[in-house]
């Protein structure tokens, strides 16, 4: 409905149905629509207030160390501690440990929001009846969840690194000595987000109910983590420490920690953690695709 004002002041308030003859975009635009829509809804936008609380708390929790450390440096200066350098008040590897659980919880929210409602309410049949190929739909949802998770898995440590550079007494000198930490944080954060997105989507692909998906992901991860911890600590065998590799809560942070050059728990090699992380992502992606290829509407 458009309104046109004429010289007489008369207005046309309804021109009836108008055919569209303009530009029609391709799958990239469709992908963008799916991804942005899911990102917004995962974070609670366009949804009731209750749906905004948990995402907000998780995002706030992820940024808390950055805010505290940077705030203290801004307020007090670099003489906060005589024993610890200002840029080491909250080391990046510790930040990734802090983020491990946060990213998992946000994944439980975002992945279940991405896949479950569309299946339960059969909106998926409309996406399948659009020009968007099913695999592209899945890719869009995966991209949305991964991007949302990068908001907490990548952005806070990256900002902390940027703050460390910017607040150093001589940023140029500091940059020369620490520039490589940025790319390492980037890779570690992206992998952490990808791992949790893959796990969350793999679980969500098996149910139409958000609650079941979120519960299964959190509960399953905690149980496996506990079992892996107990097995690695109690089994009296040479390779028992490798049971730790089964712990999905440790995989992401430990890869980041390895990338940042820090020693790992019980000397489990970094490449082993990386292999487990990449393999888990690949297996989860294959599972999701397999489930969705079998769906029919």
């Amino acid at each position: 409905m458009t309104a046109q004002e004429g010289a007489t002041g008369a207005r046309i308030v309804d021109r009836g149905y108008q055919h569209y003859t303009g530009e029609r975009r391709g799958v990239v635009s469709a992908l963008q629509a799916i991804t942005v829509g899911t990102m917004k809804r995962s974070l609670g936008f366009k949804r009731p207030g209750s749906a905004k609380v948990f995402p907000f708390l998780l995002v706030a929790g992820a940024f808390l160390p950055f805010i505290i450390v940077t705030g203290l440096r801004l307020l007090i200066g670099d003489n906060i501690s005589r024993r610890v350098p200002a840029d080491q008040l909250w080391p990046y590897w510790r930040y990734f440990n802090w983020l491990g659980l946060t990213v998992l919880l946000l994944s439980a929210l975002a992945a279940s929001e991405a896949l479950c409602p569309d299946r339960r309410q059969r909106v998926l049949s409309l996406y399948y009846a659009s020009p968007v190929p099913p695999l592209l739909y899945l890719f869009g949802q995966a991209l949305a969840v991964t991007t949302v998770l990068m908001l907490v898995a990548l952005l806070p440590p990256l900002l902390l690194w940027a703050a460390n550079v910017g607040l150093a007494q001589d940023p140029g000198v500091y940059w020369q000595a620490h520039w490589d930490e940025g790319p390492r944080i980037l890779v570690g954060g992206v992998l952490l987000a990808l791992l949790n997105a893959a796990l969350g989507l793999a679980v969500a692909a098996f149910t139409e109910r958000k609650g079941y998906a979120a519960g299964a992901l959190i509960g399953g991860t905690v149980v496996v983590s506990i079992v892996a911890g107990i097995a690695s600590g109690t089994i009296n065998a040479g390779g028992a420490k490798y049971a730790l590799l089964l712990d999905p809560l440790l995989a992401g942070p430990n890869v980041a920690r390895w990338l940042l050059g820090h020693s790992l728990d019980r000397n489990v090699p970094g490449p082993a953690w990386l292999a487990v992380e990449v393999a888990t992502i690949a297996v989860c992606a294959a599972l999701v695709v397999r489930v969705y290829r079998r769906l029919s509407f």
Binding site: R24, S29, Q121, R122, P131, L136
Partner: protein, 328 residues
């Protein structure tokens, strides 16, 4: 992902006058033949796909959209083969599923806009067109409300709006009046009529409700157990079935024989006879037969068979061979 919808130029002309054609289209699920060699043709305007539940209407629609692979035969939609060019078909076609398909916690405006973007509209255009089509279906005031709070009739309107938002050349409506009360059904049929006549969008509407089909469609395709049993322009189907209803006091074989001897096609159901009303001479033949055989007539009524009768008899204009186009 090698298919780029942007490359699927919209200017491609449909060379065939028919929007949809199928030849021997078959779909089997295990031992069940959901669609059995369907050959049909759909032209511009509104065509009804009529059949009982399980007749194969939804199966046909999904094959036309390229959502399922056919077990045999071929189809063409707007000049594209849905089996190989599904995205091209789906970019040009709107789809209104029979089942619920709306996200309850979305605003109607957001959802229709999203469907517009997914089907290739730029975001700004999708926002504008979402508002427009929601207004066209009578939801201008309610478009910012959550769909979950809508009545069944309003939800059906949202389903229609999302099928129209990208300005398709053809809309496939699968049982759009399902679950609606009589008033809602009338309103939906009125909307479908507006889609065809005011918006100029072609419609293929499936239904098992004969009254709906008769109101809205220019042409009809009758499906029965996966087979096309009749198809053609609605007026042809009905005009070809002009009938003289004759009710006798008692059964009278001689009267019937006399009519048949006069060249009339007569269907006998006890005391009730139906004679094909080919011309006014049929009345003379009935009068003469009654006089000669002494048959007593209690009622003589001119009428047409309903579509239901056409459907139940499985015969009608252009029946069976599926070569005649369904179009006005």
């Amino acid at each position: 992902m090698t298919i780029a919808v942007a490359d699927l130029a919209f200017e491609q002309q449909v060379t065939d006058a028919a929007l949809v054609t199928t030849a021997g289209l078959t779909k089997t699920y295990g031992s069940v033949r959901a669609l059995d060699g369907a050959s049909l043709s759909v032209r511009a305007g509104c065509t009804a796909l009529l059949g009982e539940n399980g007749a194969g209407k939804s199966t046909l629609i999904k094959l036309l959209l390229g959502l399922n692979a056919a077990s045999g035969g071929s189809a063409s939609v707007l000049g594209f083969d849905p089996a190989r060019q599904g995205p091209a078909v789906r970019a040009r076609v709107g789809y209104f599923p029979e089942h619920d398909c709306l996200p309850n916690d979305w605003q109607a405006q957001d959802f229709v806009r999203q469907m517009g973007e997914v089907r290739g509209l730029p975001r700004r255009v999708a926002v504008q067109r979402a508002s427009d089509v929601l207004a066209q279906v009578g939801l201008a005031e309610e478009r910012y409300r959550q769909i979950g709070g809508f009545s069944t009739g309003m939800k059906q309107r949202v389903k229609l709006a999302q099928a129209l938002v990208h300005d398709p050349q053809l809309v496939l409506l699968d049982e759009p009046t399902n679950g609606l009360d009589p008033l809602g059904r009338d309103q939906m049929i009125e909307l479908v009529q507006r889609v065809v006549r005011e918006m100029g969008i072609n419609v293929l509407i499936s239904s098992h409700l004969l009254a709906d089909v008769q109101q809205v469609s220019d042409a009809v395709i009758l499906l029965d157990r996966g087979r096309v049993v009749a198809q053609g322009a609605l007026r042809d189907l009905l005009s070809d079935t002009d009938t003289l209803f004759i009710e006798l006091i008692e059964e009278n074989e001689a009267f019937v024989e006399r009519l048949r001897h006069a060249g009339l096609r007569v269907d006998v159901r006890g005391r009730e006879l139906r004679a094909a009303l080919t011309d006014e001479a049929v009345f003379d033949a009935v009068r003469d037969a009654a006089a000669e055989t002494g048959a007593g007539l209690t009622r003589l009524r001119r009428g047409a068979r309903s579509l239901e009768e056409v459907f139940l008899s499985g015969t009608g204009a252009g029946s069976g061979d599926g070569t005649e186009a369904a179009g006005p």
